[in-house]
Amino acid sequence: MEAYQSNNPSNGARKRDNSGKFYKNMLHLKRYGTLYLLLIIPFAQILLFRYTPMINILAGFKKNQFLWPLFERPWADNYGFEFFIKAFQDQYFLEALRNTFMLNILDLVLGFPIPIILALLLNELRYMKFKRFTQTVLYMPHFLSWVIIASLATQVFASRGIVNNFLGTSIPFLQSPINWVFTYIFVGIWASMGWNTIIYLASITAINPELYEAAAVDGAKRFRMMWHVTLPGIRPVIVILLILSLGRILGTDFERIMAMRNPLVFEYSDTISVYVYNMGIRGMQQSLAAAVGLFQSVVSVVFLLMANTIAKRFGERGIL
């Protein structure tokens, strides 16, 4: 009885509260409903094309009967991991794995520092017109498609192309596998070096000018300022971009590799993306390709998280 009496008023209050909430919600919806309507289309697009494919990852765990609907296919052997095991017994996959690591690590080691150096040098340019012209020209390759870039490369680096004419040699830049690897890396750097300076240049402008004045008072010359003020000033951005590129260590720009590879260098040019395409889209090994694709996505996320953790342990701001 006592409990009932003590409960009663609070019940009523909750009821009133609820109807108030309902009223408030309606008001909210009346005022901001359009916002939800606006969000529906893009959100549906993301749900449909980014999230529903995740259900289809199942294909990697099912038998390779790709003419059947996905859910009716029987499960693969070894608790569904048949194709993951198969992949690691496949010489072509192991080669693709090696090539992916090799090309990405070379890209990282040779390519990552270049935009930083360029940004530091661009920052030192005092002739504004020349600076702007340089930037316009260096940004250009970013606006070319990989087909075009590869086409330029095959013409320029042909055994009788302009580079060999200039050097007076006939080096097989694209025909011998080892040479091809370095041409591929070089062309990649060529295509992205200018564009990637933008972010560094922007963060250089955010550096406090007082730091430069203080350094000048201490008698620092240009190079020392670059080393002791500018470079530390953009360190957070460098770390973030490094984390992001470590997250891509198992990914390949599909369009880049597809355009640049040629039959003479398949042993070094076929990365995991190419493997998935050859096996799953061109070939008949859908389950195998789906398994390899999942492996690639998961390892990429793991690498990203690991790089992020390490950066944070060293006292840097991460990306997550």
């Binding site: 289309i41 094309f49 494919p53 250009m140 095959t154 972010i199 998935v276 990429s300």
Partner: protein, 290 residues
């Protein structure tokens, strides 16, 4: 403070470095350009460097007379226009609501969007989805699945965040709803950002061929120009397939290849220098973390 001599030497070295880099960027383009304008005999004798030898327009004539190539070019122009408009629409629709802090589920939606930037299902699952939606070999597969780029959405959103709240609030006082605020305040003020993002979308559609390669390999009549170029490039060794693609003007193939490259590149190279100021701003905005 800085000794004059020292800095002059430094300046000279830096300028020299950039002159070399500029040459590195321009010479390949000039080489291809002059190849497209050179006579086939000069090409065969391997005489073409930076300037055309035996100037003529046969290669361009050959390309423009080829219906397949011409059709693909027109289709890609239309495709790029449609994609850019549709993508801009989706991007604005997605970015604008985030301006309102009152929006419910703002955080969870944001997380769901960001997640897709770091994890994707992969090629085969996407392929299976397109298959079950009946989009394989359908031109819409080039438009809808890649319509919204989360990266570009974040750019747009950062720009919207940068606009002052007081503008919006005073408009709301006057009784303007969210849609009215968008069309009469936010969009007119965001022209630079809209231009940048339009450029990004247009470039990625004009240059992209990976999705076409995977999802519509059998629909030759809907090939975007880059996929057509890709196939030609892959097959130049075998004349048979070159014939199949409709390219066999005898004695011309080298010049024709160069001409196709030039034609597919010119539209973008004519536009981007004028938008440079904006896209530099745009990329910089992307660095603003939420």
């Amino acid at each position: 403070m800085i000794s004059k001599n020292n800095s002059k030497i430094g300046d000279t070295i830096i300028i020299l470095v950039f002159i070399i880099l500029i040459m590195l960027c321009i010479i390949p383009m000039m080489n291809v350009f002059s190849r497209s304008l050179s006579s086939s005999s000069a090409l065969v004798r391997n005489e073409v460097g930076i300037w055309p030898r035996g100037l003529n327009f046969d290669a361009f004539r050959a390309v423009s007379n080829d219906p397949k190539y011409f059709r693909s070019l027109i289709w890609t122009v239309i495709l790029t226009l449609i994609c850019t408009l549709f993508s801009l629409f989706l991007t604005v629709c997605c970015a604008y609501p985030f301006v309102y802090k009152q929006l419910k589920g703002r955080r969870i939606i944001n997380t769901m969007l960001i997640f897709t930037m770091y994890f994707s299902a992969g090629t085969i699952p996407n392929f299976l989805l397109m298959k079950s939606l009946g989009l394989l070999d359908h031109p819409l597969v080039l438009i809808i699945p890649s319509a919204l780029s989360v990266y570009n959405m974040i750019l747009m959103r950062s720009f919207f965040y940068g606009l002052s709240d007081s503008l919006r609030e005073s408009a709301e006082m006057d009784g303007a709803g969210p849609l009215r605020v968008l069309t009469s305040i936010y969009l007119p003020l965001s022209k630079p950002a809209l231009a940048t993002i339009a450029l990004f979308y247009a470039v990625s559609r004009w240059n992209g061929y990976g999705d076409a390669l995977v999802f519509m390999n059998n629909a030759r009549e809907w090939y975007p120009i880059q996929l057509l170029l890709y196939n030609i490039q892959q097959d130049t060794q075998s004349i048979e397939i070159t014939l199949q693609e409709g390219f066999a003007p005898p004695g011309l193939p080298q010049a024709v290849r160069a001409a196709t490259v030039v034609i597919a590149t010119i539209p973008i190279l004519c536009v981007y220098p004028f938008l440079q100021k904006y896209f530099v701003q745009g990329v910089t905005l992307g660095a603003v973390k939420e």
